[in-house]
Amino acid sequence: MGPGFQLDRVADCGAGIGRVTRHLLLPRSAHVDLVEQSPRLLNAAPQYMASGDGLEFNPDSVTYLNLGLQVCTIATTEIDTSVSKSY
């Protein structure tokens, strides 16, 4: 995936505020869908994406999707860590 390698559409799952999209994916793809379950992070993404550090940014080249990834189940489950021993 070097320079000049161009994709049409990419999804960034767990996009956060868009670091991976901005620096890795968008330079290589015409469009990126940012998929993030946290509204707080996703709401901060447009400003981060547009912040100036020399990278060109077309707002129409990204779509922000506040969707779950079935994340959080582990956070609400009690696990006995003793079962993590090799078996």
């Binding site: 991976v20 779950g68 582990i74």
Partner: protein, 131 residues
Amino acid sequence: MITEQDFSPSAATYDLIWVQWVIGHLHDIDCVQFLRRCAAGLKPCGVIVLKDNVLIDEDLTFLWDRTDSSVARHMRYLKLLISLSGLQVIMEARQQDFPSELLPVFMIAISVAPSLLTDTPSIFSSTSSNV
């Protein structure tokens, strides 16, 4: 902005789906279902890249991090889930230049395994679409 749904891309939508530090928050069956939905959203020759903490040396199957409620699975464990998802590993690379006190981070490129596509256990099937 779409809210309160799970990511379930339409068929043949993406060239690449980048999944960074996500599956460590998913139970096994949710991980497999998630990867299967991603696989359905790939264009022909599309690729999913998992970037996550992966155990390689430790004598552990997985490591639970209570501070951020995630698990790091052993590489063999992770590849089993990838296989159960009807996917195959086509390339893997360890992230370089990370602090040595952190868990190993790997990028694993996976694609649809043709032989497994036609034999999907119903328990892993999903139906809805929202992209």
